[in-house]
């Protein structure tokens, strides 16, 4: 689950999950919902992403989402489903297809993932992530 948050010139997401992995997956879903204006994305292609967990969880989150933006820019892909495992490194799979304005809808171009007001919070229910994008 995720929720899109908007301020005057910015857009971001609040994502939830029972685990940190699930919250990372939902944050990625939310990011592509912004790009495609909530379009339905089929899982036709799969990409593997590996990131060393060498700093903190916040940096790992920014790296994870930046990696997906990279694939979007370079291969023209959008993703709708994700699987994330985090141990000594993050191993993630992203499932999606070529972006098509007609099919997926036209959202907002995200330039970058920012550290501003970045939050990863834990409570009894699980993990909440808040992240803002530069657009």
């Amino acid at each position: 689950m995720y929720k899109i948050i908007e301020h005057t010139a910015d857009v971001g997401i609040e994502a939830y999950g029972a685990t940190i992995e699930e919250a990372f997956e939902n944050a990625a879903k939310g990011m592509f919902a912004i790009i495609t204006n909530d379009g339905h994305i089929e899982s036709k292609q799969k990409r593997k992403i590996e990131i060393d967990f060498d700093a903190d969880e916040e940096i790992l989150l920014v790296d994870w989402l930046t990696e997906l933006l990279y694939l979007h820019d370079v291969e023209g892909l959008v993703f709708g489903e994700f699987e994330v495992r985090i141990n000594k490194k993050l191993v993630g799979y992203a499932y999606g297809e070529k972006y098509d304005r007609q099919k997926h809808g036209y959202g907002i171009e995200i330039k970058a993932v920012t550290y501003h007001m970045l939050e990863i919070k834990r409570n009894k229910k699980g993990v909440t992530i808040k992240v803002l994008f530069d657009i």
């Binding site: 005057t8 940096i59 370079v74 959008v78 972006y99 171009e109 970058a112 550290y115």
Partner: protein, 487 residues
């Protein structure tokens, strides 16, 4: 609502004194902060935390003069948008937050020898549609030219010159670009493979958001003499391009925020906000960032150069005339997200400083060697884009701007979120409203039209008037759009 001190210290000048301790009471400003604004703009400026950010910037190691903000100041990541900070080139720091993600986002103006009487509505529509076909734009837009790794490295190190040497534009174009379209310090060895991949995928594309390509009419001349020198007259048709370094620059900024975050710890720099991450200019990290940033800046100049070429090509196709015969010369090209080493006077002494301009434009006055010879007696042309469907401005740089390290404003800035704009308007309504004003728009989608509605932006004329009043740049001409290509 920000309620810190803003002391009026002159017309259009409000100071946050060095003694201000910040919202947490522990801020240690090394210099005062100064915000340029009219009295009427103050309530809006106090609305977000941008003044606090201007004060935060004043804590950067090696900052000289004052931490400045232009009248279009608004909240940004770390530095405010509209922020200008100069640091000692020997002992100061460089900060990616003072440049922004879209390195060398900028504006270029191309003139023609046609006037409004020579061109009818139908022709404008054809031109806009042709531009839309010829220049990749919008979310997910991809390059139509595929460069290999070596060519991309050349783009990063040569900037606009690469484009001209490869058939995109005219030799004389380079003379009318800030830095002649190339920062020599660029070294592609410091750019990650990822940034290069993103660059290859998007070179020669407009992008989305507030970026645009407009056919405009010169609606008003404020300064006949300067306009004449710039080759501008009333009712003339001109073309404005507003875009930056695309994914290449965004990736370089992301990469180096990570590097400089580590550097902050290494060099024991204490900062009020993580996003002010920086490193000494003379450190390994600082030098690497600066050389990579210059690569992104060069990419942006090449990008705008390729787009200019396609603009000329589109005009040639539709009007069946040579671009040379239509005198489609570049008036000028400015960058408004950049850090550069420049010579300025600080406390009566000339010194080398690193000027960070984040949402601010260079505004050099008459006499400076950086201004093209043809313009040197009047000062550098300053280009201020409005938002879709309102006006844009051509101004001239001044020597007064020296007090702000040769800087002025950069544009309008949003006052309403995209979501709010979408709730309020439908894209077709906006298109219709623009049509009533005689503006033909070709957006990548109708949603963009609603999101980018003119009423969702600050009034650019107010911003321009404040810089004119403060003497940072002076009005030369106002341009009104006739046709808009919107990503």
């Amino acid at each position: 609502m920000w309620s810190g001190p803003l002391n009026k210290v002159g017309d259009y000048r409000y100071e946050i004194p060095k003694s201000y301790r910040g919202i947490n009471g522990n801020l240690k400003m090394k210099v005062p902060a100064l915000i340029y604004a009219s009295d009427e703009m103050l309530p809006a400026i106090r609305k977000d935390n941008a003044p606090e950010q201007t004060a935060n910037v004043a804590t950067l190691p090696g900052i000289v003069g004052k931490s400045l903000a232009m009248p279009d100041i608004h909240w940004g990541y770390g530095f405010p948008i509209g922020g200008v900070a100069a640091t000692d080139a020997e002992e100061g720091v460089i900060s990616p937050g003072g440049v922004g993600f879209d390195i060398n986002c900028g504006v270029r103006l191309v003139r023609t020898n046609m006037s409004i009487g020579d061109i009818n509505k139908e022709t404008i529509k054809q031109l806009v549609d042709e531009l839309f076909r010829n220049v990749p734009s919008g979310v997910g837009s991809q390059a139509k030219v595929r460069l290999n790794k070596m060519q991309l490295n050349e783009v990063l190190e040569m900037g606009a010159r690469w484009a001209v040497e490869n058939g995109y534009g005219w030799e004389e174009d380079l003379e009318y670009l800030e830095e002649n379209g190339c920062m020599e310090i660029a070294d592609s060895n410091y750019v990650s493979e990822k940034a290069k991949d993103r660059g290859k995928a998007q070179v020669g594309s407009l992008g989305a958001g507030n970026h645009f390509l407009e056919i405009q009419r010169v609606a008003e001349i404020f300064d006949e003499e300067a306009a004449k020198v710039y080759g501008i007259e009333k009712d003339q048709i001109v073309v404005m391009i507003h875009t930056g370094s695309r994914g290449c620059g965004h990736q370089i900024c992301s990469d180096y925020l990570r590097v400089l975050e580590q550097a902050v710890r290494k060099y024991n720099i204490s900062l009020p906000d993580r996003q002010l991450a920086c490193a000494p200019l003379k450190s390994n990290e600082g030098e690497r960032y600066f050389k990579a940033m210059a690569c992104a800046a060069n990419f942006a100049w090449a990008n705008r150069q390729m787009i200019v070429h396609w603009v000329r090509e589109s005009f040639e196709r539709v009007l069946r005339q040579n671009a040379e015969d239509m005198e489609m010369h570049i008036v000028y090209d400015v960058c408004h997200n950049i850090a550069k080493i420049e010579e300025h006077e600080v406390d009566g002494k000339k010194m080398e400083v690193c000027v960070h301009r984040k949402g601010a434009t260079r505004s050099f006055g008459p006499g400076r060697k950086e201004v093209p010879a043809k313009y040197r007696n009047v000062g550098q042309p300053v280009l201020i884009p409005g938002d879709m469907g309102t006006e844009s401005y051509l101004l001239k740089g001044t020597n007064q701007a020296e007090e702000a390290f040769g800087s002025t404003c950069h544009g309008a800035g949003r006052v309403m979120s995209r979501a709010e704009a979408k709730r309020r308007w439908r894209g077709r309504e906006i298109a219709h409203m623009l049509e009533q004003k005689g503006i033909y728009a070709h957006p990548a989608s109708w949603i963009v039209m609603a999101e980018e509605s003119p009423d969702a932006y600050k009034d650019v004329s107010q911003v321009v008037s404040a810089t004119h009043g403060a003497g940072l740049s002076l009005k030369v001409a106002k341009m009104i759009p006739l046709g808009v290509v919107k990503g």
